[in-house]
């Protein structure tokens, strides 16, 4: 491999330092190096959203980012989201509303659900549908996923 670069990042709240090949994608760094396999690869070209992680709090597709680009920054994966109140609430809603079939799109969907509840708390179903355009699901037809994102404890 090319000369490795020492990378310092915060992943799910914990400081991580590793020597990495500059050509290593962020998704592979997370899955292979850190064994955080909750983030999935489906298309590898930024179209499907299954590789979604939060970079400095913003959802991005980790298959299009090199690990070395994230120097000094904060990454949250689906594993980290479970430790967060908002993330846990979204996960509970996904279970409650039967929004999961094969599960492959789900980490990305749950992450987006948490982001959308945080940043678009007043969004209606159609606006949420548009904001979820970057997340594909082949199983569910999306309706129960939308139900789950809209199904907030405080509204019940």
């Amino acid at each position: 491999m090319s000369d490795p670069i020492v990378l310092h990042v915060t992943v799910n709240g914990r400081a991580v330092t590793r020597a990495v090949d500059p050509a290593l994608r962020l998704i592979d760094f997370l899955r292979e190096e850190l064994r955080l396999t909750g983030t999935k690869e489906s298309c590898g070209e930024g179209e499907c959203g299954s590789c979604t992680v939060l970079l400095n709090g913003k959802p991005v597709t980790s298959c299009l980012i090199l690990a070395v680009e994230t120097e000094g920054q904060e990454i949250t994966t689906i594993e980290g989201l479970a430790e967060d109140g908002l993330g846990a609430a979204v996960q509970e809603a996904f279970i409650r509303d039967h929004a999961v079939q094969c599960g492959y799109c789900i980490p990305g969907m749950v992450l987006m659900g948490a982001v959308l509840r945080r940043d678009h708390p007043d969004a209606g179903r159609e606006e949420l549908r548009t904001l979820l355009a970057g997340n594909l699901c082949r199983c569910t037809g999306y309706e129960k996923i939308l139900d789950a994102i809209l199904d907030r404890e405080e509204d019940r």
């Binding site: 070209e45 179209e47 959802p59 070395v68």
Partner: protein, 266 residues
């Protein structure tokens, strides 16, 4: 692969003159999709995301400066862009999906120079100027002079696109796009218009169309016809000579002609 991350524009242009074959990496949403074509052991990548000179929006007296590193999501949600440059904000609304918009940059969309680049037609109708910097200095070009062909621009290998300036426009403006999906779609036809109407007639009209020629084009024959007061049907005939669409995997030339005409009719 060699990965470099300059901290200033000066550092970046110096690196570029030392590494003329190097690729510049901003959001990576085009470059990383086609990495198999360039990501090789002998490749050099210059990550320009840290350059402060390419960040941010700056309102000056008569114009807005938009730094090349401005992400599409920032552009789309910027109050000044939504209010003063609505066609640009609308292009952002139809651009890919949220995850891509958080990384894709204005500079990248321009330098990638896809004939279907969504941010480009709005910049045409707003008469934007493109700013380039190198170790030798800087220069600006009118947006229409920046594009030479699909994927080809006037940027020299030692230059970095630092931003664009847009004079605050008069009149109204809008963006339109047809793709094979409502989102996450490369445009089959896109375009922007800026117009002023007085007493039921066009006092000014500028139209730029994309994905219908090797670069985005002004539809000059179309707009001239309307400004001369000729009927829409005649203007649409004139439009045919303004564009040169091709058949590709997304749509045929015939379809693009029909759709553009209908969109402009509306």
């Amino acid at each position: 692969m060699k990965y470099l991350r300059p901290a200033t524009l000066l550092e970046a242009v110096k690196l570029q003159s030392v590494h003329p074959q190097a690729r510049l990496l901003a959001g990576g949403t085009d470059l990383m999709v086609r990495r198999t074509t360039w990501l090789k052991p002998d490749a050099t990548l210059i990550d320009i995301k840290a350059l402060p000179e390419l960040q941010g929006l700056q309102s000056e007296d008569h114009r807005l400066w938009i730094g090349a590193l401005t992400t599409v999501e920032t552009l789309r949600t910027s109050p000044i862009v939504r209010e003063r440059f609505p066609a640009l904000a609308q292009a952002g609304d139809r651009f890919a999906g949220l995850q891509i918009r958080h990384r894709a940059t204005l500079g990248g969309n321009l330098v990638n120079a896809s004939p279907a680049g969504d941010l480009i037609p709005p910049l045409y109708v707003y008469q934007a100027r493109v700013h380039l910097a190198s170790a030798a200095g800087s220069r600006t070009l009118a947006i229409v002079d920046f594009f030479r062909g699909p994927g080809v621009t006037a940027r020299q290998p030692d230059e970095i696109l630092t931003g664009v300036t847009l004079p605050y426009p008069t009149g109204e403006s809008a963006f339109f796009k047809v793709g094979n999906r409502e989102a996450m779609a490369i445009s089959v036809v896109n375009g922007a218009l800026r117009w002023e109407v007085a007493e039921g007639r066009f006092r000014d009209l500028v139209v730029a169309a994309g994905a219908v020629a090797p670069t985005v084009v002004y539809c000059r024959r179309f707009t001239s016809a309307l400004l001369e007061g000729r009927p829409l049907a005649k203007a649409l005939e004139a439009l045919e000579a303004d564009i040169a669409p091709i058949d590709d995997l997304r749509a045929s030339a015939w379809y693009r002609r029909r759709v553009l005409a209908r969109l402009l009719e509306d």
